[in-house]
Structures are given as structure tokens and as C-alpha cells.
Amino acid sequence: MADPVTFTVNGKSLQAPAGTLVIDACKRAGIEIPAFCYYEGLALQAACRMCLVEVEKAPKLLASCTLPVAEGMVVQTESPVVVQARKAMLEFLLTNHPLDCPVCDKGGECELQDMSFRYGAGESRFTEMKQHVDEKQWSPVVYFDAPRCILCYRCVRICDEGLGVKALGVTNRGVYSEITPNKGDHLDCDECGACIDICPVGALTSGIYRYQTRPWEMEHIGAICSHCGDGCKTTLGVKNDEILRGNNRDRSGINGEFLCIKGRYAFDFVSHAERLQSPMIRVDGKLEEVSWSKALAFVAQRFGEIKAAGGRFGVIGGERSTNEENYYLQKFARVGLGTPHIDHRRSGDVPALLDALHGRQGALATVDDLYNAKGVLIIGADLAQQHPLLAFQTRADSRHHQAKVFTVTEGPVREDKVAAKKLRAGPAGQLAVVKTLGEDLKAAGELVVLFGDSIQGAAVGELVSFIDSLGVPAKYICLVDYSNSRGTCDMGLLPHLGPGYQAAAQTGMGQAEMLADPALDALWVVGANPLAGAALASQQAFVVVQDMFLTETAQRADVVLPSASAYEKTGTVTNTCGQVQRLRKAISVMGVKADLDIFGLLARGMRLDLGRAVPDQVFEEIRASVHGYNVPLPVIATGGAAMTDPVHGRIPVAGQAQVIQSARDTLFTSGSLTRYSKTLNLVLEAPGELYKP
């Protein structure tokens, strides 16, 4: 850290490390300097001139956003001339601004409105005509209203520096300068909406949210995105049990600035027309709607009969269900139904990694660790497509900390742009290629290693011992697909491992074996769609499916129970790094029940004593019994992310027949959920190159 310097602001003596910008130093000392173009973490612009301050001995006002503090510097941030300059700047700014706040989406959350209120002159002396330019639609989700734009260039920078896309630029000159999209009249980009979020005014607006409501009429609920495994917090704007928007204005999640299209817009599946809102029972070969009580009683009865007859149950859990649900489900299966056949669709070899790291502490990387690492090794994953947040962190790490990034992938990936070395190899050859990077990795001095499904089984151990041999500190992230893929593993939805990776009393069949077993008597699928690409061999199996939609699997069911989405229930999920976060119920949907409630009712129907099926209580049990989950409750209760510490002793991993394969989703897909998101489909169908990754 640089040596601290002492300087004076408004008569107060302050200290800050040399090189700190005056605007930041002041902010830390509680002295606010207004700014439009300055944005922490993005390139400096000095364009808006809102942050001008008076500095002793300087002949004119200086922009505090580009001025480093210096020893003995004397700064005034509220002197009459500074106050007057701000007023003047706002007056200039408003000359071309339409001031249509009453119909502007940003009304109520607009930085220009706030600043005019706090620092403005109240009345404008501008009486000339304003230039009018029509609003443009750039993409399914992005609209641009040029006259509202104050040219702060935040959108241009977040797209280029933050997303690595560079789909926005500036064209024309002077007052005619205008933000322009990469395809002339439309955007071809990630459609993440970061530009909309970062826009201080209503120049960029969201096609999903526009003209729906006013910000103050919504309730804002911090939820966890239910798509990929990165675990972004998305603040849902809710009105009348309807989610109107997702964003992250308060930046309190592990994702800070970031959300991808799915976190910001793809909550819309919850209100898809095909959403199931009534239980169904197969009658004469056709699924017919019945009441909950009838459906539950029927399942309890059939399960009871099959159990009594010593029948064979197969249970498949979901990667988006909560930890509480998964924990309860495996308990239900193992204790309640007495079956060892339990599994879920696996996308990364977490047990192998935890085994390889046995006995270590802090060997798993958090999202934050990735941002701070001196070196990043990415093996076999297209992060920008499959793990957008981790890709964002990698770019930020490279930009802010000059991290050395290495990509070892099958094809070109976006991270190549910031990579010190990019190497190509098929999945089978990637480990060998990694081993050629020894000197480079050593030179990086510190590593976060991310790997996908190309490294599994024995290869995981091999990778870890190779990295060990370099003698540099390293942390790992085993990449898994969905919002709780990791938690599903941790909760023991595995045929050979129970919660916390304890060896199961009896090893059961894996998912593929269950589906292929002609003797299976019952199949219970919760929030998964295993029959999307596979057939069920057993003709006689009684199939119960809990889902939001009539998926391929649900279509084969004897009983379909409509379940709640992640936005309609409470509970916790664990991201691909192992960080637990709490879901908050944002809306209620008629006719559906949370999976945990369904389990509780079934347990009661079957007279099983599995403990109360209440999220908080189940989580207490998880904290007490699942290794690594004894996380501080207040952190989670207040919307924070707590890192689990599941690394422990050896884990029996060998000798297991296992299928581990990532779904290789793109930015615009999310497994079976894709087809139920209007936004994702709009984007997938829109013309463009990046649209179809």
C-alpha cells in the first residue's frame, strides 16, 4: 500500500494513500462530491465536470475524479464558486434534456433528478428550442432515448471494460454526439442490460420493464438468480404478486455490478402461460386436474403400497431446488422410503475435488477470491457463456489487478482477450496442456483454478497434485451448471454419498441406471427433466413429478405436482464456489406449492417422522449435520453469502460408474427453463451473430 498523505478538505485534515483520487478520499470521509461520469472501477473520463473542486494555488477549478491527493493539498468542495459551478453544469446539462420525468422509467431513481434537486438552480434560463430525436429500439431488451442521454459514457465503458463486448460506442460530434450500437441500428450483444442499469438517467431503458410502473410502487426483494451456478443476487421489483423487473441497484450481492440477461430478465418463466397450477393424476392414460388433497393422498397411498411390497424406488432431485428441499428429499428417500437409489444430473466432479483437497483449509475460491487472484487458470469452460459472473470477475481482475489469465479450452473463448496465454485442446487433452504451463503458472505467484467437466475422476487429483508441485498458493472452483447444482451435491443427492459427502450406508443406482432399470417400481422426480434425452425402461414404474411445467418427464408421470419456483419460496442455495445464500419469497402463485411443503405433506400422509418440513428448521439440521455448513446465520439472514467449508477427510470416490456432463448452456439458455422464458426466446430469435453463441 502506498504511503498515506495528509491533506485538507473543507478545513478537515484527512489522510489517504498516495494516488487516491480526491473524489474517493472525500467519499470515504463522508464528504460527497457529485459525479456523473466517474464510476468506481471504470476508466476515468473527466467529462461531466460535476465534480469540480477548488484547490488552493490552482488557477482554476479541478476535476476531483482525476486528481490524486497530494501532501498538503487544500481542497474546498462546498465553496461558493464550487457550488455555482455545479449549478451551471446542471443548467448546461438540462438545456438538451427533455425533462419528461413524469413518463420516464427512471423517474424516482434518476441521478439527474436527484442532482438537480440537491445542487441545481431550480429554474433554467434556457428558452430555446430543444432538439428532438425519436426513441429507438436496439434489441428485444434495450431501448435508447437520445435526448435524455447526458453522455457520461458509463454504458460504453461497462460494455467494453466490464462485459468485454464493446457493443456501444459514440458517434457524431459536439452536441450531436450520440451513443451508437455496434450494428448501426441495432445491438448484437450479451443483452445483459448492464448499460441500462448503469445509466444514470432514463436514456437506456429495458424493453421488459418500460412503462410498467414507477419504482416507488414496487416492493424490492433481494432474490438469488435461479439460472446458472454463479449465484447472483437479483433485486426483484414486485407489484401485485407480479415480478416486473430484476436488477441489482444496491449492488449488495456477490455479483456487485453484474447481472447477465438471465438474472435480469429471465424471471419471466414464472408467469409463462404453460405454468402448471393444479396437480394432475393420470386417468385412462390422460393427465387430469385434481385437487391437492386428492393428489397427495394418492401419492402417499401408492408410495406406501410400493414400500410395503418391498418395491424399488428411484429418486432424482433437482439442481434448482433449495438445500433444505434436497436435504429433506434424500432423507425422505433413504430413511422414509428406505431406498439407496438417489441421484441428480451431475455437471462437475465436486466430490473428487473435495477428496483431492482433503485436510486443507480455504482451498476453495469464492467469487471475490477470483477477483483478487494474481493468476487465473480456466480449464475446459467457456466462462462468458456458462458462468457469466465468473467471467466478469476474471475480466475485472485482469483490468484492476493485472491478473495473469490462462485459458485451456477446446475453442476460442472471450477470456482469451485478457489472457496471457490461450491454449487449445479437446477435453481429453486439456490436463496435459495445463502441465505445459508450469513456468507461467509459477510466475503468476498465486492461482484460482477453474475447471469444468473435462477434468473429472482421477484427473481432478492429478490436476491438484500438478498445481501443488508448482509451490504457489492455489484455490479451486469446480464448475457446475445451475443455481443449486453444488448444494444438491453437498446435500447428498448422490447414490454413494450422503449429506456432507459421508459414505452412504448402501450404494444405490445412479440416474442413468435407474432410468435403465426395467424393474424399477417407482420414480420420483423433483425439479428435473431426466427424460428430456433418455427413455424410462421400466413400464410399470409409478412416476411422480414435481415441476413448474409439463416437461418431457412430467408427460410420462402418473402424478404431476405443480411446484413453486425459486422466487416463490424461502430456503438456501449454494453456488458453484460453495457460497450459501438465502432465497426470499418474492411472489405467490396460485395453485403451486414449494417442494418442501409437498414433502412435508407426503411425509405426513405416509406417517413418516422426518422432522418438520420448514425451511429454517431444516437448515438448522443442515448446519448441525452437514459438514461445512455451520455458517454464521446472521450473514445469510441479512442477504449475505457465507462460504461453506466442505473440505474434510477422504471421500470414497473411486470405483463409481458416473456420468458427469455439463449442459453447456449459453448466455441465452438455461436447460429446460429456456423454452419458458419469453425474453430468452425473443433474443434467441432476434437476428445477430452474438445472439447465437
Partner: protein, 443 residues
């Protein structure tokens, strides 16, 4: 083949140094140049250490001729010569400040003098590559420069091991594309790199991080063109041509209402009165001088009376709260409509504002709209006050000096010639529709 830019003979009062070959036949050719002490300054510099060269330039008191008047030797000494990065030389030939047309003469008549100046600068900071950035409208000058560069390569005055001195230098031209702002040094560097001409945050200054983020000497055409004579004559002798603190001669462009317009080489400190009466042959039609802009349209304006007593040098102009600027003298006679002049000047800056920062982007447009109305006779007294206020609100607060360049002439005209603005008030009524049309035409 190219239009002549010179009077047949120089004025006897001119102090001809940079222009000594201008009237020679084939003055552009390298043979003419070599036959007239050409490249001697470089050969001398090749025998000197970098420090010695810079000391010589410092001794000459040469100040930048692009407008800001920064001491050239001092600027060169800021280049970190030990830096492992390559060093570059960039010539500012953007010449776009209204009233200024001297770099054109220097290139059209003596391109090798510029090349030699560049070589000497290169030698002084261990630079081996340079670009001459010339405004796009000057295409024929780019062609002339390209030809001269080709000649210099062919005759061993550019390229590897120049004339056996062991010094290498590569040089080429680079065209602009119509943007006054690209005369501002950091915007020029952006433009050179293939980007929009938006200025950079400074520091770092070009001497430390310039072209392609490498240490760079960036000077005006005339500044480089002066360097060969400085090396040849010696810094002190060159300094003695001018006045203390401002050495040498300055190419001065007489424009506007004067009988003998033209580009003249005058010793620094030459009296304004003599410049107008003797060199310029007096104000056109025997009229009185109402106003003078001393060095390009961005300088605060002087009334005729103020101007008459001054000398053409940095300090004299600074005392009168204006600037020597680029050497573009604009003379306005007693009949000049100062409101129209103010409007025309602000229209230029509005057109050329790069748009990066709020006060300049919005301020120049607002001023243009106000002045358009005042000129049309549909303004009010409040509007006149507002013009001054807005200019005040821009001055010193913009990202680069273009905002100041717009504010300074505007506020000085409206303050010194307020009566003319008042006289126009309410003279005409224009409907709002007519007005908006008017504004959009000028847009």
C-alpha cells in the same frame, strides 16, 4: 501550379529567417535546400550530445508557435530519455485556428526545413520515428510533404544511418479528416491512433506518454521549422532576433480589413501600429480599426485603441489580457458588425466542440442560439447578460482549452462592444417557427 501565397518581394521590415528560401526557384526541392545551408543544422546536431542540443534550443528562447507559447527547449527536456520505450516526434500541422495560415506557407515553400527540424528534435531525445499530422483539407500540402520525404529518403537524409552519422529516422505524413479539435495535442494523438479526436486526461503529458503511449515531442510546424536556424546560428544569436524572453521571428498572418493581407515574418516584439500601417498598408479604405484579434479567433478581442499601443509578443499581449496565440491577426474596421462577428466565432466553436464535456458541448450550442437571436434582433437585455454569464460558466471549467477558446472571444466581444448588442435589440421580430428554422440551418 499551386496558388502563390507570397507577395513578390518581402516587406523591408520583415526579418527573414525561416522564409529565406521561400522566393528561391524550386524552393521545395532538396537541391535548393542543400545549396542554401540546408541540413547543416542537423549535421551540427549530430556532433552534439542530446543535452547540448536541448540547451541550444533553450538558449534560443523559442516558444511554441502553435498558440500556447510554451518554451520549446523546456518541453523537450521533459522527455524521459532513459525510458525503455521508443520515443516519437509528432508535428502538429492541423492549423485550423481561424485567422491562421502560416504553416501552409512553411510547408508549401520549404518542406525540407521542417524535416530538418524534426531530425534535430529526434536526435535530442533519441527518437527514431515521426509523423507529420496535417489537416485533411491541406491535401496538396500532404502531397508536397510526401514528395519531400521521398526525396530525403532517396538522398540519405532520412532512413538508416543518415549521412553516416549513425542516426536513423523514419518519417511520414498522416492526414487529418476535418476537426479543429485535433489541433489540441492530446486529441491529435488520439486521432493519430485512429480514434475520435477527443482529448486525453493530462497528466501524463505527451512528453511522458504521447503517441502510442510512448514519450513524444509534439510541436507546431513553425516551431520545428525554426530549429534548423537555431542550430545553425546558435541559440543566442537566434534569441537576439527577438526580444528578451521571446526569441526569434514569428510568421504573422495579417487578415481581415487591411490593405495588404499576407503572411509576414516579423521579429517578436514588432509594434502593432507598424504592423498594420507599414506592413499591412493601413486599414482598408482608410477606415479606422475597430477591433483586433491578435492570434487566432480564440484570443480575447482588443478594441482598436487598445491594440494600437501594443507589441506583437507574448508579454505585451498578456498585459492586455489577451494572447499572441498562433499568429493569426484579424483586423476589423469601424463598419464591422460585432454581433455578427461574435456569432460567426461561436458558430465555429460550436461546430468544432468534440462533445466530450458538458460545459463546452452544451455551452457553445446555447451561446450560438442566443447570439443567433441577438443578431436577428429578437433578443433581450437579459440575453446579452446571459451570453456573458454562460461564457463565464464555461471558462476554466471545460475538459480542454477549446471551451476557453469559445468563451474568451465571446465574453470579450460582448463586454467591449455591448452597445452594439443593445442597438440590435428588438429591431426585428421573427416568429418562433422562423427562429427554429434559423437555428437548424446554422446547426
Amino acid at each position: 501550379m499551386y496558388p502563390s501565397l507570397l507577395h513578390e518581394t518581402p516587406h523591408p521590415d520583415e526579418q527573414i529567417v525561416l522564409g529565406k528560401r521561400f522566393r528561391l526557384p524550386d524552393s521545395r526541392r532538396i537541391d535548393t535546400y542543400l545549396a542554401s545551408e540546408g541540413y547543416q543544422g542537423f549535421l551540427k546536431a549530430a556532433q552534439m550530445t542530446p543535452e547540448q542540443i536541448i540547451d541550444e534550443v533553450k538558449a534560443s528562447n523559442l516558444r511554441g508557435r502553435g498558440g500556447a507559447g510554451f518554451p520549446t527547449g523546456l518541453k523537450w527536456s521533459f522527455v524521459p530519455r532513459q525510458s525503455p520505450k521508443p520515443k516519437y516526434i509528432v508535428v502538429n500541422g492541423d492549423e485550423s485556428e481561424p485567422g491562421t495560415c502560416k504553416d501552409r506557407v512553411l510547408i508549401q515553400y520549404d518542406p525540407h526545413q521542417l524535416i530538418e527540424g524534426i531530425l534535430i528534435a529526434g536526435r535530442s531525445v533519441d527518437a527514431h520515428r515521426g509523423w507529420i499530422y496535417i489537416r485533411g483539407e491541406y491535401r496538396y500540402l500532404i502531397d508536397i510533404m510526401d514528395e519531400a520525404i521521398a526525396e530525403a529518403y532517396a538522398r540519405g537524409w532520412l532512413g538508416k544511418n543518415i549521412q553516416g552519422t549513425g542516426f536513423d529516422f523514419e518519417l511520414s505524413t498522416h492526414t487529418g479528416a476535418g476537426a479543429y479539435e485535433c489541433g489540441e495535442e492530446s486529441a491529435l494523438l488520439e486521432s493519430l491512433e485512429g480514434k475520435r479526436g477527443v482529448p486525453r486526461i493530462r497528466p501524463p503529458f505527451p512528453a511522458v506518454s504521447g503517441a502510442f503511449q510512448c514519450p513524444t515531442i509534439l510541436n507546431n510546424v513553425e516551431t520545428f521549422a525554426a530549429v534548423p536556424s537555431i542550430l545553425r546560428m546558435g541559440g543566442q544569436a537566434w534569441a537576439a532576433l527577438g526580444i528578451p524572453k521571446a526569441g526569434g521571428t514569428k510568421l504573422t498572418c495579417l487578415t481581415g480589413h487591411v490593405n495588404r493581407m499576407g503572411v509576414y515574418e516579423l521579429a517578436l516584439g514588432y509594434p502593432v501600429r507598424k504592423m498594420i500601417e507599414d506592413i499591412g498598408g493601413g486599414i482598408r479604405g482608410g477606415k479606422k480599426l475597430k477591433a483586433m484579434i491578435p492570434g487566432g479567433s480564440s484570443c480575447p478581442i482588443l478594441t482598436g485603441e487598445e491594440a494600437w499601443e501594443l507589441n506583437m509578443d507574448y508579454d505585451s499581449m498578456a498585459k492586455a489580457k489577451t494572447m499572441l496565440g498562433s499568429g493569426g491577426v484579424v483586423l476589423m474596421d469601424e463598419d464591422t458588425d460585432m454581433v455578427k462577428a461574435a456569432l460567426r466565432i461561436i458558430r465555429f466553436y460550436q461546430h468544432e466542440s468534440c462533445g466530450w464535456c458538458i460545459p463546452c458541448r452544451e455551452g457553445t450550442m446555447w451561446l450560438k442560439k442566443l447570439l443567433t437571436r441577438l443578431d436577428e434582433g429578437v433578443g433581450t437585455v437579459k440575453d446579452i447578460d446571459l451570453v456573458g454569464d454562460l461564457a463565464d460558466n464555461m471558462l476554466g471549467r471545460t475538459f480542454c482549452p477549446l471551451g476557453d477558446a469559445a468563451a474568451m472571444p465571446t465574453m470579450s466581444i460582448v463586454r467591449k462592444f455591448r452597445h452594439e448588442f443593445e442597438a440590435k435589440l428588438g429591431r426585428k421580430t421573427v416568429s418562433m417557427a422562423g427562429l427554429s428554422q434559423l437555428v437548424s440551418i446554422t446547426g
